[in-house]
């Protein structure tokens, strides 16, 4: 039976994937993508992940997990596997898999779709599951700690430093996404601002009025958020109110920075925790709704399979399809950040090692499917519209006429009227140059929801989608700032012990200010950059995220080699090799390319030369100094990321070679075997 199912899935999935790959000329239906993706996830889950579980890490259902051994009724707690799955999915899913695939569609739908599916099944899902397993075997310890224990102090420090840097970049780039979505849009700005008092209200509700009634509090929050979306529409119609919420990018960036600082020093129950509860709820609801709507609507994909921009001349971000499609998609296929979650709260909940496949592999497969839905939302737009929304004014010109002329000249026809009609249907004044991926995704989502559940409400759906993305992003802003604060406080504590105390207020303020200043700087530069900023920051984030994935996969490969599974080391070794090639190539091009569009240092030199020659228009000359410094800084950061990656990789290879030669290496840090006392039948574990 299993075999028949496998063959059937393989045939259907292979047929759909082949259909996508070979399909040319006329538009293709989105159902092809959905079918191919689902068949391949199920195949991967049922066969590849199962094989890894039984042969590679050899899950032992008689072994007690940390949740059982260290059960404290709170974070260490044996939990039903579907709850672990839901929890893990909610923790890894955010704005990343929505934004990355949207941006990558400048190459056409094919490269991105293939990488989202194949990268997840062979890379991302494997990484998440492996790290979850390894952390579960090690009392739920974090990736940085495991790296230190297994590879030695050098690898551990590199992993910690990598984590800190990636957090700063991700906050800055997501902050930029939300600023670009709110810029000069009273409706979006009002809705996003309204999420703050709503979260505080829910915070008080859960803390004082109905302690711990999370479901109830989240539902109330959700209803209020929907009211805020509707209210935003009325604000936008009222000229006086609309003017109040019509803010420039720099003002909004200042708001986000100030907000981030306040949120970081406030207790978590006020803002961060309640908003996270609401967003978990919203996340699950929207993913299900979007999947249903796509099945009902079955949209046609209008983007070609490949565009001419695979040669590296793309307007959304610079660089050829290799390696930049793999860098850009990030969280949808393989994300180093997930390794932090897989070695965070999830391993403390797993009640049996047999549940790891569902939580680790399964959650990532669903995340990848979210990426596929983002692909569909971006590609069902007319390509001309997609490029008009996602290209900065610095590239296509600041007037609507100039923009449509340039974009139509690329072979993607679009007219000023078309963009005007679309903007007014969405309740916006203009959609030109709204870079960052969120607005074009929101237009796509609004079209899907609109045709499945009622077209007259396009403006509402659009702003609902913006609010949905903003709520994730603001959670990342505070949660990331807090996480980075702990890392900094840990480091500062080495210099002056009281600074290491995480709840000592002066230390909280000093460390939070350092972190907010760090990402605030990148956010500010991104906002003043006339090309939109995203085209610089997103690749930098992608490189950092893939570097962290390479670190996690190095740790996993090192452990596999050390624990006598050398012949299976390719399971993590294969994605590790691929992502090392991709990340190193991208970093090399970003550092050494002489093309000012691609290379950071080349861009800095080009701008300096133009500034010295007086060839810049006055508004660009004003910010040129900042942009030059920033390009150089980004160049040095890329060098640092490359060094971190290779440091961890080489320390893993050195450790492995020593082990294979029989020389001493840090011992396997697995917790000793203890037999489980839990009733296996009650945990739905088949003892076969």
């Amino acid at each position: 039976m299993q075999k028949i199912l496998g063959i059937l899935l393989a045939v259907v999935g292979g047929f759909a994937l082949g259909g996508i790959a070979l399909h040319r000329a006329e538009p293709i239906n989105a159902l092809w993508l959905v079918t191919a993706a689902i068949c391949i996830y199920v195949l991967g889950f049922r066969f590849y992940a199962k094989w890894i579980e039984t042969r590679v890490f050899v899950a032992d259902y008689t072994r007690a997990t940390p949740a059982e051994r260290l059960n404290n009724g709170r974070d260490f707690l044996p939990t039903h596997r579907w709850v672990v799955f839901g929890h893990h999915f909610a923790a890894i899913a955010g704005a990343g898999p929505l934004v990355g695939p949207t941006l990558a569609m400048q190459f056409g739908y094919l490269p991105g779709t293939l990488w989202i599916i194949v990268g997840a099944v062979l890379g991302g899902c494997v990484q998440d599951m492996m790290i979850l397993f390894m952390s579960t075997r090690r009392d739920g310890r974090s990736l940085g700690k495991i790296a230190r224990d297994e590879l030695g102090p050098v690898g551990g420090t590199a992993a910690m430093l990598g984590t800190l840097m990636i957090v700063l970049i991700i906050i800055a780039v997501l902050g930029l996404v939300v600023v670009n979505a709110m810029k000069h849009s009273p409706w979006a700005t009002f809705t996003v601002f309204a999420t703050l008092p709503i979260a505080v209200f829910v915070g008080f509700y859960l803390r004082h009025w109905r302690p711990g009634q999370v479901l109830e509090g989240s539902l109330i929050g959700l209803v209020l958020l929907l009211a805020a979306v509707v209210g935003g529409g009325h604000v936008a119609e009222n000229p006086a109110l609309a003017e109040m919420f019509n803010l420039s990018g720099v003002t909004l960036a200042a708001f986000v920075i100030g907000y981030g600082w306040i949120a970081a020093i406030l207790p978590v129950w006020v803002l961060l925790a309640p908003r996270d509860y609401i967003s978990t709820f919203l996340k699950i609801a929207v993913v299900v709704m979007l999947a249903v709507a796509i099945l009902v609507m079955r949209p046609e994909i209008k983007m070609p399979a490949l565009t001419q921009f695979i040669d590296g001349t793309g307007p959304v971000f610079a660089g050829k399809v290799f390696p930049f499609v793999f860098i850009t998609i990030a969280c949808g296929a393989l994300s180093g950040f997930h390794a932090l979650v897989s070695s965070g709260t999830t391993p403390k909940m797993v009640s049996n090692e047999r549940d790891i496949r569902l939580a680790g592999y399964g959650s990532m497969a669903v995340e990848s499917f979210v990426g596929i839905m983002a692909v569909i939302a971006a590609t069902l737009l007319d390509p001309g519209v997609y490029f008009a929304i996602n290209t900065g004014a610095g590239i296509v010109g600041s007037s609507a006429e100039a923009a449509v002329q340039t974009i139509s000249g690329w072979g993607f026809p679009v007219t000023v009227e078309q963009m005007k009609d679309l903007a007014s249907a969405m309740g916006e004044s203009s959609l030109f140059g709204r870079t960052g991926g969120a607005p074009s995704l929101a237009v796509g989502m609004a079209s899907i929801f609109g045709s499945a559940f009622g077209r007259s409400l396009l403006g509402l759906w659009y702003h609902f989608a913006i609010m949905f993305e903003a709520i994730f992003i603001l959670t990342t802003v505070d949660a990331g700032t807090r996480a980075a604060r702990f890392l900094i406080q840990d480091a500062l504590g080495q210099l002056y012990a009281p600074l290491g105390r995480t709840s000592w207020y002066p230390s909280v303020v000093v460390a939070s200010s350092l972190i907010v200043a760090g990402w605030g700087y990148f956010l500010y530069v991104g906002v003043v950059d006339p090309n939109g900023g995203i085209n610089i920051l997103w690749p930098l984030f992608g490189i950092a995220n893939q570097m962290l994935a390479a670190i996690a996969l190095s740790v996993a490969t090192g452990i596999l080699i050390k624990t006598a599974h050398v012949k299976y080391a390719w399971v993590t070794g294969l994605p590790l090799t691929w992502i090392t090639i991709v990340t190193s190539t991208a970093a090399f091009q970003k550092i050494f390319s002489t093309d000012p569009k691609l290379g950071f240092f080349a861009a800095a030199n080009d701008l300096s030369a133009k500034l010295a020659a007086g060839a810049l228009p006055p508004e660009k000359a004003k910010v040129a100094g900042t942009l030059i410094f920033n390009q150089q800084l980004d160049g040095w950061l890329t060098i640092l990321f490359g060094l971190l990656l290779w440091t961890v990789l080489l320390s893993m290879i050195r450790m492995s070679l020593r082990h294979l030669k029989g020389l001493p290496v840090p011992p396997n840090s697995e917790a000793p075997y203890v037999k489980t006392q839990l009733n296996l039948a009650s945990l739905h574990v088949n003892a076969h």
């Binding site: 939990t79 579907w82 978990t280 959670t475």
Partner: protein
Amino acid sequence: MRTDVRQFLSAGLSLLRGVTGDDAYEKYLAHYERTKPPHPPLSAEEFFRAQIDQKWNCVSGCC
């Protein structure tokens, strides 16, 4: 048929409560009853406060 639907819905609800953390205090009390430690159990409010602080003292979310 009716009982099936009811069972399905209640399973869905308990899943949702688990994922959102709605049932965390009940689980804590159950654990307390099983282990019977010498100190009295936390109140719902104290428990919830401790729970939140603990959750956000590490990297717990993603991009």
